[in-house]
């Protein structure tokens, strides 16, 4: 049974797309695998209502950032795999840069501000 997550809901809302696009940038994945991978990498600290992944994935698909394909699975029902399109790769890179810049600024503030020369 999974432990209680430390971050859930709102804090994830703005960053869900960044997480999804980053994971899909590494390899094609299906919904369950995406949810599990986020949990695994964050050691259970990040967890979202898994059903809410799908509106996000479908939105990304409508925007042409990901494309999907049904693939049969030997372990059970077929799975719908998502992978980044070229546009999606550009967007993933941009989101990542934005996140890194943002977290750097936040860290700067938490550390007491940028050193003036």
């Amino acid at each position: 049974m999974p432990s209680e997550p430390r971050y859930r809901g709102d804090i994830l809302k703005g960053n869900t797309l960044t997480l999804i696009l980053t994971l899909l940038g590494e390899q094609p994945m299906y919904g369950y695998a995406i949810a599990k991978e986020v949990e695994r990498r964050s050691e259970g600290a990040l967890r979202f209502r898994q059903g809410l992944l799908y509106p996000a994935l479908h939105q990304l698909e409508r925007e042409g950032l990901v494309e999907s394909e049904w693939v049969s699975s030997p372990e059970g029902p077929r799975r719908k795999y998502y992978q980044l399109t070229r546009k999606g790769r550009r967007e993933a890179a941009a989101l990542r840069r934005r996140w890194e810049a943002f977290s750097q600024v936040v860290n700067q503030v938490l550390a007491g501000g940028a050193k003036s020369d």
């Binding site: 049974m1 999974p2 299906y30 919904g31 369950y32 209502r49 898994q50 059903g51 809410l52 799908y54 509106p55 479908h58 939105q59 409508r62 059970g76 029902p77 077929r78 799975r79 719908k80």
Partner: protein, 219 residues
């Protein structure tokens, strides 16, 4: 205790997306839930309990439905059905008219028992095209329950006609209308039988809803 089917029904209930997309969503979510349930079962939880935990973990059906609805933003279900009906009727009538007017097709039309000569023949062919095309369009725009109700009604109508036909032959009476009668029966089965079945299905769904046994509308 919520079942997976009831949960998925709530997620997909009147989702404004085309029926194929709704079926796609249903299958995708069902597959995900299946994996979650297996995961909890592997951790030693009983299946009924695993289902409840998985559904809770998955999120509130209404919330997921709301987000999916916003993303897909298709037409309401009844507009989809109307579109299907209208498009099907138009295509059916056009096809029937072309078939009856095209001279090289006359021998083929005769073989298919479609009366094509004269104004009455053309009018009947166009009417059949309207009806069958409309039914086909409606079915194409419908969901799973809709197909099932339609199919059952159509089959019932066909069986009833066949029984009548066999009874007539067995009693030594003339076969009603011969091949043309059979052709008309086949064409009318989805219209008469299908509509009847839908009416019964919709009535039952409404009654069950009144009785508090949640069943979405026949789709």
């Amino acid at each position: 205790m919520t079942s997976i089917g009831a949960y998925l029904d709530r997620v997909c209930h009147r989702l404004r997306a085309n029926p194929a997309a709704v079926e796609d969503v249903r299958e995708e979510l069902r597959a995900h839930l299946g994996e979650l349930i297996k995961e909890y079962q592997r951790a030693g939880v009983s299946r009924p309990e695993a289902i409840q935990i998985a559904l809770q973990e998955f999120g509130e059906a209404q919330a997921i439905r709301g987000w999916l609805d916003q993303v897909h933003q298709g037409d309401p279900w009844w507009v989809l059905r109307l579109k299907g009906l209208g498009t099907g009727m138009l295509l059916g009538a056009m096809l029937a008219t072309v078939l009856t007017l095209a001279a090289p097709l006359q021998p083929l039309m005769g073989r298919l028992w479609l009366e094509s000569g004269g104004e009455l023949g053309r009018a009947q062919a166009t009417l059949n095209g309207l009806l069958v095309g409309g039914v086909a369009g409606l079915v194409c725009a419908g969901g799973r329950r809709f197909y099932a109700a339609w199919l059952l009604g159509s089959l019932a109508w066909l069986v009833e006609y066949l029984v009548y036909w066999v009874q007539s032959i067995a009693a030594g009476m003339p076969v009603p209308d011969g091949g043309l009668g059979m052709m008309n029966a086949v064409l009318l089965a989805p219209v008469v039988g299908g509509f009847f079945a839908l009416a019964v299905g919709a009535g039952t769904a409404a009654l069950l809803r009144v009785l508090g046994r949640l069943r979405p509308e026949v789709r």
